[in-house]
Symmetry: C2
Subunit: 289 residues, 2 copies
């Protein structure tokens, strides 16, 4: 249309999309256009501000590699990733939370009761838990947990040449009643990368880059929706200021201690662990597919 | 906060920005976050859709060069660029319109009455006009016009090794009464680049990539706000479907003919032009700074 105006441009975008083959694609992109238009009108965005945004995206493109995606980081820091997780969490199930950039496909298998600690530096921690049906509360047979976390220096294996490849990464098959246990170290809080345009945004907003310590989990089981989440041991100073908005109340795990002799007796590293060792009990509630 | 929810995340983003040094930066980014959140909630965006968007941005980064910025193209195709132009057009002034990616700094000077045609293929066209004060309607002394357009093959000089560098680019100083004239060829409609992720979006929406023919102008004069705009000769089949929403009614120029002997008599190429030649009369209204 030739008389496009601030009042008509959103409808003009929708009119242009009249021939879209897929109704959902049209719905999503028309909604995005509408909300971007509302943003420009609300802020009366100047050309200089518009160009600053485009240059931030351009620089994000320049800094992005297969190992480090600045667009995902922007999505995380705007809370968009967290919101997508929240709106896609089935009712009654454990909240979804950030996949993050450090997941590696093909993690080595870890027997139930196995050990990720391997006498590395850090605070040894025993994780026990159970994967449950969100509706019935009963254990799910045949569940697998894809687990990963950072080492005591705050780095994930992929960030740290000094760590063995896939250190602190594991694929664990739970017991038939859905229970599981393994030993590891307490994960550490760390900064998201702040040397790119997303870091510039944090500084411009007076925000810090800290994430509270967490254990990543992808839970899968036949007949259930896969669950990508993070679990946050209680007591971290950044639980209330996670830079990427990943914390939800049901993802905060009480951090107690396990006295020697306490279950799980099948824990492979139990005899090497301190008498009283950190203990994080997890419950993972999965929704049926 | 640890109990972030779809209802609280926008406020959480604002709370995180409480220490921002610059109030306007905070205002703009909080507004952007709010509208992105509204988009995700309205569409109940899935993880697959979210990732498709992030991969489109990632691919935009990969295809972007100093000569071709796919993020600006996305902004154009979403109507964001046009909307920024519209909200920044002062009342009574000629509408701003897309700068586009083909502007070159340091265009060669062209005397008033000068020639960009240079006997190249195409429909010779005479452009005459006047630069006016938007408030008083009087001519502005000392105005300069940075002019550029494509050649008859639809390509701008920067896109076409066969054209001389800065072909159809000129910096013209208007007469003391604000009038100006030059000869050129009628610009051609053309497709925006559609071989990247922005083109994928056009295809997904059933949209085409055509822009109606236009002449780019940056008008500058001491004491006035610079004006970046495009002028569209009437009669182009894409005037009502410009892919980048650049057309506004005051930017559509009547396209008539100029009979031999008609003004402007100082037109350098007048004796080589056809007896009756295309004529585009422009009025450019500038707002005081």
């Amino acid at each position: 249309m030739r008389n496009v105006s601030p009042d008509t441009i959103t409808q003009a975008f929708a009119d242009y999309a009249a021939k879209a083959e897929d109704a959902r694609t049209k719905e999503v992109l028309c909604s995005l256009a509408k909300h971007l238009h509302a943003f420009v009108k609300e802020t009366q965005l100047t050309h200089a501000e518009w160009m600053a945004g485009l240059m931030a995206l351009t620089r994000a493109g320049e800094i992005t590699t297969p190992e480090r995606n600045e667009f995902i980081l922007f999505s995380d820091l705007f809370g968009v990733s967290a919101l997508v997780d929240m709106v896609n969490t089935p009712k009654g199930a454990t909240n979804c939370s950030n996949l993050g950039p450090f997941h590696q496909r093909g993690a080595p298998e870890l027997a139930d009761g196995g050990d990720l600690w391997k006498d590395q530096p850090g605070e040894p921690m025993v994780v026990t838990g159970r994967v449950l049906d969100a509706e019935t509360g009963e254990g799910i047979a045949g569940a697998t947990l894809d687990l990963w976390q950072n080492a005591d220096n705050g780095l994930y294996a992929v960030q740290d040449a000094a760590q063995p490849a896939k250190n602190y990464h594991a694929l664990l098959r739970c017991a038939p009643d859905g229970t599981f246990a393994f030993s590891t170290t307490r994960p550490k809080s760390y900064n998201v990368p702040y040397d790119g345009p997303a870091g510039d945004m944090l500084r411009a907003l007076g925000r810090d880059a800290w994430r509270p310590a967490h254990l990543h989990v992808i839970a899968e089981a036949a007949g259930y929706r896969p669950l990508v989440t993070e679990l946050f041991p209680e007591g971290d100073p950044y639980l209330d200021s996670d830079a990427v908005f990943g914390v939800r109340e049901d993802l905060v795990v009480p951090l107690g201690t396990l006295a020697n002799g306490e279950t799980p007796t099948h824990l492979a590293a139990r005899d090497r662990l301190p008498e009283r060792v950190l203990h994080a009990p997890l419950l993972i509630r999965m929704a049926r597919a």
